[in-house]
């Protein structure tokens, strides 16, 4: 049976062939540790890392590539921003659609005396900018919001929130794990202060890559301190970027692959990927619209969504539906709570969860139509 991969929201697959080639080239012909020496291999490694940093800066419209800090994933990037900024007594505002990579650090920080306010989402899991901004004050230390839900794919109007935050002087941290590479991002136009991104989802790189855009170089306390290859005469952490936040040897092969992924996106255009995924979503939604026994979640307006869709089949638990989709139809989805219990509470799907479909730049229309046929069959059997 042919397998069809519908779990791009967890990690993208397939990748452009250049990604694996770049990792291979780095391991076989590369060698050397970026910034640790002046010999040819160390310089080549540092050039590889710089090139990926420059490409990501171009993708997010960042004028100074040193503001792009590499981490091992979006979770580490979010932790760097949250623990680097928040202390006892500080107020932080977030939404009820966040992933646990935001909620768990924030719940932990709340135990340490950070005042946490969670703004409930509207119907369909949409974060209303007006409702979010209404609770912000000039004394708020940080606003944190997801650019798109990993459960519903609903895209947040970050630019409107950013404009309000900048006016108040409140820094804005955006979780772009679900949007980087799938939705155009301009950190200047959107007034974003920190942007956490995954390297292995929409940016099409290998797992173990991610990063944080940092607008104000010294805004954060580092999460890690250690060797950077720079200012080796001193026992204190360097203050300049990116070294301030990048201690220890980087994942150079992963970063080489990530560079190839971003290069692919810059050539194809993120707007083209977005249009492709929207078209797939529309085909899917059209295909299941007339089918009784399928409940789909998320906003009605497909223009404000990514290529992610959560649904349930009446009479089946999400895990039964997911197993049937894989075993009988070869469709690989993700079932359950998607590490976002608060988002499922907002949608009314807690604790049961949903079946999630996540499309990518290489998903074909015929894959999506196969998904629709499988769901029709399953729903028909339950009637």
């Amino acid at each position: 049976m042919k397998l069809r991969y519908f779990d791009n929201a967890a990690t993208s697959w397939p990748k452009p062939p250049a990604v694996a080639a770049a990792v291979h080239r780095c391991l076989v012909r590369g060698g050397g540790n970026a910034g640790r020496s002046g010999h040819a291999k160390a310089v080549a490694a540092a050039r590889t890392v710089l090139r990926t940093r420059e490409l990501i800066a171009e993708l997010f419209h960042v004028a100074d590539p040193s503001r792009i800090v590499f981490t091992k994933n979006a979770t580490e990037a979010l932790n760097l921003a949250l623990y680097g900024l928040l202390g006892p007594g500080d107020g932080v505002v977030t939404s009820s659609m966040e992933h646990n990579s935001v909620m768990r650090p924030l719940r932990h920080l709340a135990h340490r005396g950070v005042r946490l306010e969670v703004v409930p989402a509207a119907v369909g899991g949409v974060i209303e900018p007006a409702a979010f901004c209404a609770v912000l004050t000039a004394g708020t230390r940080l606003a944190v919001v997801t650019h798109a839900s990993n459960v519903t794919g609903a895209v947040t109007d970050v630019a409107r929130i950013g404009e309000h935050c900048r006016g108040l002087g409140v820094p804005l941290l955006v979780d772009a794990a679900q949007t980087a590479g799938c939705v155009p991002i301009d950190v200047e136009a959107m007034r974003v202060d920190f942007l956490a991104f995954s390297g292995h989802k929409g940016l099409l790189g290998p797992q173990g890559t991610g990063g944080l855009y940092v607008r104000d170089a010294r805004a954060l306390e580092p999460l890690l301190r250690g060797g950077t290859g720079s200012r080796s005469d001193r026992e204190e952490q360097p203050e300049f970027l990116p070294d301030r936040y990048e201690s220890g040897t980087l994942n150079t092969p992963g970063i080489a692959g990530l560079g190839a992924g971003v290069q692919y996106l810059l050539r194809r255009g993120v707007a083209s990927v977005q249009a492709h995924e929207r078209r797939l979503l529309e085909i899917f939604l059209e295909g299941i619209a007339a089918v009784p026994g399928i409940e789909a979640y998320g906003p009605a307006d497909t223009a404000a969504r990514t290529g992610v869709l959560s649904l349930n089949v009446t009479g089946l638990s999400c895990s039964e539906a997911g197993s049937a989709l894989e075993d009988r139809f070869g469709l690989l989805t993700r079932v359950g709570l998607h590490c976002a219990p608060i988002a499922h509470r907002s949608l009314g799907t807690f604790p049961e969860g949903t079946v999630r479909f996540g499309w990518g730049p290489f998903t074909r229309e015929r894959d999506v139509r196969a998904g629709v046929r499988a769901l029709r069959t399953l729903a028909g059997e339950r009637r």
């Binding site: 010999h39 310089v43 540092a46 940093r53 290859g229 300049f240």
Partner: protein, 88 residues
Amino acid sequence: MFAQRGKQELLRELEGVVTFFGSYHAMRAESVLRKSGRRAVLIPGPREISPNCGVALRFDYIQKEEVQELLDRSFVQYESFHHYPHQG
């Protein structure tokens, strides 16, 4: 052999050296200078002028002011500029 001789000549012609605190800024300086059509060669950082990062950048010393301005405009942080002819 010719390539090697060419590199030696280039190193001799580029009498300026700019040093950096970290390798990102050295690499970025090379990238920015080359994109602007200027000659630039990364070299192992001479210990006698900088204890910092492993690499420094050779450039046309005659263009010092333009190079400095370009690096400032590109957010590149450098340690210092030197007139330091290649020994060899």
